[in-house]
Subunit: 258 residues, 3 copies
């Protein structure tokens, strides 16, 4: 089964995260393939818009594949390599030459929400769910991922999402500016592709310039490499091991601040 | 007929874009005169508040006067000169010493929306319409104008407005933070001048300092002159000529990304 | 009577501004003590969350104690010293190692709103009131305080709040993003502590890192000391003396822009 499925309707491409049995949970091959796909589509000048979605109706993506934590992200050193891959893919989404629309149904959580945040626009159904409940796993969002969330919702909402770790609904996501638009569940595809067609009908160079200019005007803190690595220090804590063990064992974690 | 009409009620000045037959479309003399008027009012220490509006009830301003495109903005070189004038006027609005309130009825589109975005506050009626549909004309917003929109609504909403090019209503404008307040259509003047009088009743130096401090704390990207010129590259494209021809001919444009 | 009362329930501390007879108006000893308390709590690694509130149900805090203006903030020189204390306390709130929740009932005005804005999250009751009506007193918010408000609500809303000086309700505060959540008046404690317990249940180091990373990614203007002092120039104006005299005399001030 392909991790990522690309389909095409005239000048609009659809990229689907494709692991619906596991709510499109994100694993290493999926991150790698998603990045490749976006770089390929970005280079295709015939395209006018890219729609990102999850396969099926139950999830955009439900976050990281926890099964991989033991093998691929067991400590800070491993996690930094994995984090580099995630960051590269996020950048490939964010810097796609063509406008990108996240079509969101069901769960848009953790890494799924981060991918959606890298798209230019987000549209979701009324029963969609959002959140980044990584405080229960003993995990932080690194600088690269956090910068994307901050640019979207601002400091107060980003902190609320990360400190509470609560999962919340579509109306609250709209109020928090996580999504541009909420529609009835059975209208998500219709409205997302109407949006994509409006974009595709506009002058293509204008869309690309507007993306570039907006990026150019975004002022960001210059985080040094040594600081960047702090984003992975959590993977060396006892609380990370406790968080993952509790999640796997379906019990409440007991954190010790160590 | 004056392009811009200034009236005065005690210490509150009203500046009206005055071409109601053409929905107050913005042409070169209007941009020039608006800038002059704002610089004059800014220098008048007896003033306490400036209200900007369009003449009549149908529009704040419906955007650029397309008739001028053939003569004043036919290519990038011409457009850069014209863009310099627009930018100077926008700065004169944004840097007005006195608080500025945009009183919005009807269409607030394209350049009209950009002018409103340079005011300190925006109040509109329920049937007002907003948007920047320049992707249909093959036109970009330059760096100066885009910076104002970004400061107001953030990256995700600015991209939505520019990439979709959709025209939308007052409730959505409020949700997008384009306006501070929406009131019933027949209450726009009443509420806008109530706002202006509250401002005028406050300590004037305090208002001026708060504007200066806010400006001083705004962090902006430093765009080099060569980059700035990219904002006018669209005027040398075939798609710009196609977009204007299609608009004039009331047909759907066929863009070629060239 | 203690200016600030600290209580503790397991790993959650509650800090209450404690002058309910005067709507918890902020005076010099309260500012000093609030800063001390937050620095002490920040250093206590056993804590997981700090809830800030006002004693009683009528106010979070109703702003500065005007009675002090004649003795402690009579001119720019005095005001600068006082402003240094306020800024130090604000920083102690903003930089608290542990997540902070503002529990808001009743008036959250002036300095009260500024303290709430320094917390990580804000939850309020439906009948709460918000505003910074210092334009009626002839007073400015200095750079330090304004930076906090700007980070929370953005330029357009900050200017609206400061230029109009209007006091407004909870629904508008939510729409303005001043608060994260509005609940029924009799549910404020219940919901605020539910929030605090969700935070306290997460991995503590993760919460601290997320606060640090968010702070590190915040880009701020670098205001020079000479500019900083402009924030206190208002205290040397005739309009400041008129504003305080009018407030004390319960009459409308007559400002002269001097």
């Amino acid at each position: 089964m392909d991790q990522v499925v690309v389909t095409r309707d005239e000048n609009i491409a659809t990229v689907a995260l494709n692991n619906p049995q596991r709510l499109n949970a994100l694993n290493k091959p999926t991150w790698a393939r998603l990045g490749e796909v976006l770089r390929e589509l970005s280079a295709d000048d015939a395209l006018r818009c890219v729609v990102l979605r999850g396969a099926g109706d139950k999830a955009f993506a439900a976050g990281a594949d926890i099964a991989e934590f033991a093998t691929e992200r067991a400590d800070a050193k491993q996690a930094k390599v994995y984090g580099g891959l995630i960051h590269q893919t996020m950048q490939s989404v964010a810097q796609c030459k063509h406008p990108t629309v996240a079509l969101i149904k069901g769960a848009c959580v953790g890494g799924g929400l981060e991918i959606a945040a890298c798209c230019d626009m987000r549209i979701c159904g009324e029963s969609s769910k959002f959140g980044v409940p990584i405080n229960k796993l003993g995990l932080t969002m690194g600088y690269g991922e956090l910068a994307g969330l901050l640019a979207l919702v601002g400091r107060a909402v980003a902190l609320e999402i990360l400190l509470e770790g609560r999962v919340f609904g579509a109306a609250e996501a709209l109020q928090k500016r996580l999504v541009n638009r909420v529609v009835a569940d059975d209208q998500v595809e219709t409205e997302a592709y109407a949006m994509a067609r409006r974009i595709a009908a506009g002058a293509p160079l204008v869309a690309r310039w507007h993306k570039q200019f907006t990026e150019r005007l975004s002022v960001r803190a210059d985080v040094a490499p040594a600081e960047w690595d702090q984003g992975f220090a959590c993977f060396d804590t006892a609380d990370y091991r406790e968080g993952v063990a509790a999640f796997t064992g379906k019990r409440v974690p007991k954190f010790s601040a160590q």
